[in-house]
Symmetry: C2
Subunit: 143 residues, 2 copies
Amino acid sequence: MGVCFLQPEQKLLRSASLKVTPQRTAILELLRESREHPSVDQVHRMILQKYPSVSLATIYKTLDLFKEKGLIQEVAASARQVGYDGNPGFHPHLVCKSCKEILDMPEGKLPQEYIKEASKNYGFQVDSQQLFLYGQCAKCRKN
Amino acid sequence: MGVCFLQPEQKLLRSASLKVTPQRTAILELLRESREHPSVDQVHRMILQKYPSVSLATIYKTLDLFKEKGLIQEVAASARQVGYDGNPGFHPHLVCKSCKEILDMPEGKLPQEYIKEASKNYGFQVDSQQLFLYGQCAKCRKN
DNA sequence: ATGGGTGCAAAACATTTGCAAAAGT
DNA sequence: ACTTTTGCAAATGTTTTGCACCCAT
């Protein structure tokens, strides 16, 4: 396959030493462009529009793989609300208990004090973190 | 039923306006005394030792109910690692990626700055939060 | 050429539901 | 007495697996 004009998603797959397939490219692209935090099933349905034969099993395997490689992050807002975020970097998530929407809070910085404390008091080496703020979003408060 | 000497768990059930049953008392007691973060199934197995006929469906219903009432918190460290914590108050969780153990970090305070920012920038009203720090625990680092 | 990725269907596993009997207030 | 909770079994939903074929390197 030609290698001259790679999309950013293809570069990312390469640098994670993964084979570049249309399915993987499409899934990664979709997540990186989305502002939502689609579930496994939602990712599947969206991918199906472009590639009508992609199986759900592939979506499961691919999302797991991307997560292991640090290309995306899993956002488990609760046991029954799990989504995927194409931005693997730390940012707090606002989870509305009414409409279930999850908003990114891009401007958050890392809670360094916790990382130090984990190391000092527990000998625990932190390599990533997730912060969830639960409550009610602006829209839902107006009802 | 006599009402004279109530256990703390029974008082808690009362104040959440829930009926006091042996199953509920046992589940709440178990979680409040545990330092682990048992899964639905682990709770079921532990309860079975004392009450051999408690059904899994009851465990599901009860944990959901306790969570709604704020008696416990659900700890979804990832999509496939969900446990329950008898302490409903905020405290960071250290999640070891190797041995999957979840440690409580009791001394953490709330990240107030995020709550203010959520309100100011998004009109979002925060009423609870969860912080997960992922990495490697002291034991696992020694291998 | 070869190792890894994909799709399929089945298997395994997890969660929810409806209902009758039991228990709490 | 009334209402809620429980246990059961079935139904539903979700995730994983094994395998043959295909594709990227």
